[in-house]
């Protein structure tokens, strides 16, 4: 391992520093003094020789830096696997029988040698039970869904400003049909967008979204409903398109930030504030599903998100007339 880390290609990409313990490493990551950490047991070399071996990886806050570090670690893991495969070829079936891991490496099925750890200490968690990629994929999915609501607010105010909304009301179609048709279209686009993000991250980055796609669809639906209702509420107070755009985007960016969607593992106070955001509960519900966490935990997050969406539906129902009046 030391030879690998001292090699020139690795030194060009990473600055390595030894840490005294796992706890010290996690503290460095939490405070931002380190970008990525990994630890190996003292008998790692023995484990590898016996066909086992496991590294503990601790991703940091920055997704790009995590990706870089993971690429280097993966290179190291691949090298080990090649050497294990060579051992199988040299030692024959005896080695294979002795080590199922080595056998699977040989057959191309990669058992994970890297256990992704968390910075759990005193209840503080950066990525929870998911990888950094999963963490940020969820955060960005929810942020994009919330931004789709902005197009509802912009569309309403723009039509109001241009006078086309007035013209539509003069048609023999009910006002509700016009507005709900418009909002339903935006919900449909949000759903297509969500499906694209999930598929793209799964295929390109290998993000594991779990198996509960119905649950993911439900969370996306609740988030989109909350976003559209938020749009109606804002459009009922603000008349100009630019103001709506500014207020809505500020709100979404703030909610994303406080829910840890931009930088993970912010202080406890920020996390507590984040609990008042739509993002927090949508993220939480999705991450629980991804990591196949407890059913009660999943339901708690989904129900809280549902309650937020219902609250916004209720408020927007009161503000609806004001939002769509010409």
């Amino acid at each position: 391992m030391q030879v690998f880390l001292a090699s020139e290609p690795v030194k060009q990409r990473l600055v390595l520093r030894m840490s005294d313990s796992d706890e010290a490493l996690q503290e460095d990551l939490r405070s931002g003094r380190a970008d990525y950490g990994f630890s190996m047991p003292p008998d790692f070399s023995e484990q590898v020789r016996s066909g086992k071996g496991e590294l503990n990886a601790y991703p940091g806050r920055m997704v790009e830096r995590n990706l870089t570090a993971e690429a280097v670690i993966n290179g190291f893991v691949q090298e080990i696997k090649i050497r294990q495969s060579a051992a199988i070829v040299t030692m024959g079936k005896a080695a294979s029988a002795q080590s199922p891991d080595l056998s699977s490496a040989h057959t191309g099925v990669s058992p994970s040698m890297v256990h992704v750890g968390t910075l759990a200490a005193g209840g503080n968690v950066v990525f929870g039970h998911v990888s950094s990629l999963q963490y940020y994929s969820v955060a960005y999915l929810i942020m994009f869904l919330l931004f789709s609501g902005m197009s509802a607010a912009i569309s309403l105010t723009e039509e109001r400003e241009k006078g086309t909304l007035q013209r539509l009301y003069a048609m023999p179609v009910s006002m509700n049909a016009i507005v709900f048709g418009k909002l339903a279209g935006i919900l449909a686009i949000a759903f297509i967008q969500a499906a694209f993000i999930v598929t793209f991250t799964k295929v390109i980055y290998g993000v594991d979204w779990g198996t509960d796609y119905g649950g993911i669809a439900l969370i996306c639906l609740l988030t989109s409903i909350a976003a559209v209702c938020l749009a109606v509420i804002i459009a009922s107070f603000v008349r100009s398109r630019k103001a709506v755009e500014l207020i809505y985007s500020m709100l979404v960016v703030m909610m994303t930030f406080f829910s840890g969607g931009m930088v993970a593992g912010l202080g406890q106070t920020v996390q507590d504030i984040g609990k008042f955001s739509i993002n927090h509960w949508a993220n939480e519900a999705l991450r629980q599903m991804m990591s196949e966490g407890s059913l009660s935990g999943q339901w708690q997050a989904v129900l809280t998100l549902g309650a937020i969406a219902a609250g916004l539906v209720w408020i927007s129902a009161f503000r609806f007339r004001k939002a769509v009046e010409v």
């Binding site: 006078g163 086309t164 007035q166 013209r167 003069a170 048609m171 023999p172 010409v326």
Partner: protein, 352 residues
């Protein structure tokens, strides 16, 4: 009981309407819907619209018959737009009743909207859609489909002179072309009542003339038209009847001649004599038949003279007595501007 009434309508050179129009009037169904009035096309009965403390339309009672071009005139803020919004079902009224072809706007808004084509004051079109797509979109909302839809869209584009630009987006259009597209979007369903709210604001004289001609053609083709403007010349040129609104009230209504006669307005004379002296002007003012006198710049006098044909020679005699030559004599017919001035003490432009 069902009656089928067939009657011929006027055929014009546009080939726009069929030779006959059929109305199926199911009496029993209409009675069930509470439709008992079929006389006037539009009827306002003591309509009031308030915005918190401000009364925007005050006790408006008005009847518009089928086939009219009804000009609604008044300064900005007089209540014209609010009135047409009330009729179009865009705004609820606080009290009174509004009917279109017997349908109450409050009780049957969709029936009313089916019969109306609204050309709003703002150019209400989608700039990212082509002209044809705009017209098609709004036509579909009126329930037109298939070959009828296509036929009517092409008719509307041709009627407004936009067929050559059907594929172009309004972003590239002039103000006048956008105004014409605004009209095209309102006529595909051949509305019984076409409401045009200030359709010529901010456009060049050529486009204005095109729009005014279009209004007349649409009327000939069978549409009743309500035309609002604060340009009195336009309203005067096209309207068969005129309503004048001020501060939410309908202060006068009738043909132009009726309005002027009832207001007691008479023609005025404009006399110009470059060296007009104060003495001569004073003597003309004191003539017993001069009922209105105003001295203007450039030796110009504006006077209203009772029995002008008989007494004009007296005025000319006064001028010659003071050694003054008459350079110009013009007769000025009373117009809507002077009518509005008489009724409100303000000019239309002042109000705007």
């Amino acid at each position: 009981m069902t009656f089928v009434i067939l009657f011929p309508i006027r055929f014009d050179d546009f080939g726009y309407l069929p030779l006959t129009r059929m109305i199926v009037y199911n009496e029993s169904r209409n009675v069930r819907k509470g439709l008992t009035r079929m006389a006037a096309l539009v009827e306002f009965k003591n309509v009031v619209k308030k915005y918190e403390t401000k009364i925007s339309v005050n006790q408006l009672s008005l009847t518009i018959e089928q086939g009219e071009i009804f000009g609604l005139l008044g300064p900005n803020g007089a209540g014209k737009t609010t009135t047409i919004h009330l009729l179009s079902g865009l705004l609820p009224h606080n009290s009174g009743e509004i009917y279109l072809e017997g349908f109450s706007v409050a009780a049957h808004p969709l029936e009313v909207k089916r019969r109306i084509g609204l050309v709003p004051q703002e150019i209400a079109i989608y700039e990212n859609l082509s002209a044809r797509e705009n017209v098609t979109f709004f036509a579909r909302l009126y329930g037109l489909r298939g070959s009828v839809l296509q036929e009517r869209v092409e008719e509307a584009l041709e009627f407004t002179g936009l067929q050559k630009f059907a594929k172009d987006k309004p972003l590239t259009f002039s103000g006048g072309m956008k105004r014409r597209l605004n009209i095209a979007c309102a006529i595909t369903h051949r509305p019984k009542l076409l409401i045009m709210d200030e359709p010529t604001v901010g456009i060049d004289p050529q486009s204005r003339n095109h729009i005014l001609e279009s209004v007349k053609k649409l009327n000939v083709m069978g549409s009743t038209i309500i035309y609002t403007s604060h340009y009195m010349e336009e309203v005067e040129a096209i309207s068969t009847r005129i309503g004048i609104m001020d501060q939410g009230r309908l202060i006068a209504c009738g043909t132009k001649d009726d309005l002027i006669r009832h207001a007691g307005l008479k023609e005025r004379l404009m006399l110009q004599s470059s060296r007009l002296s104060d003495e001569a002007a004073e003597e003309i003012r004191n003539h017993p038949r001069v009922t209105f006198f105003q001295r203007r710049e450039g030796g110009m006098l504006e006077i209203e003279l009772q029995e002008s044909q008989s007494y004009l020679q007296d005025i000319l005699f006064i001028l010659s007595k003071h050694g003054l030559a008459l350079q110009k004599l013009t007769r000025v017919e009373p117009d809507l501007e002077s009518l509005f001035l008489t009724l409100t003490g303000r000019t239309l432009r002042d109000g705007a």
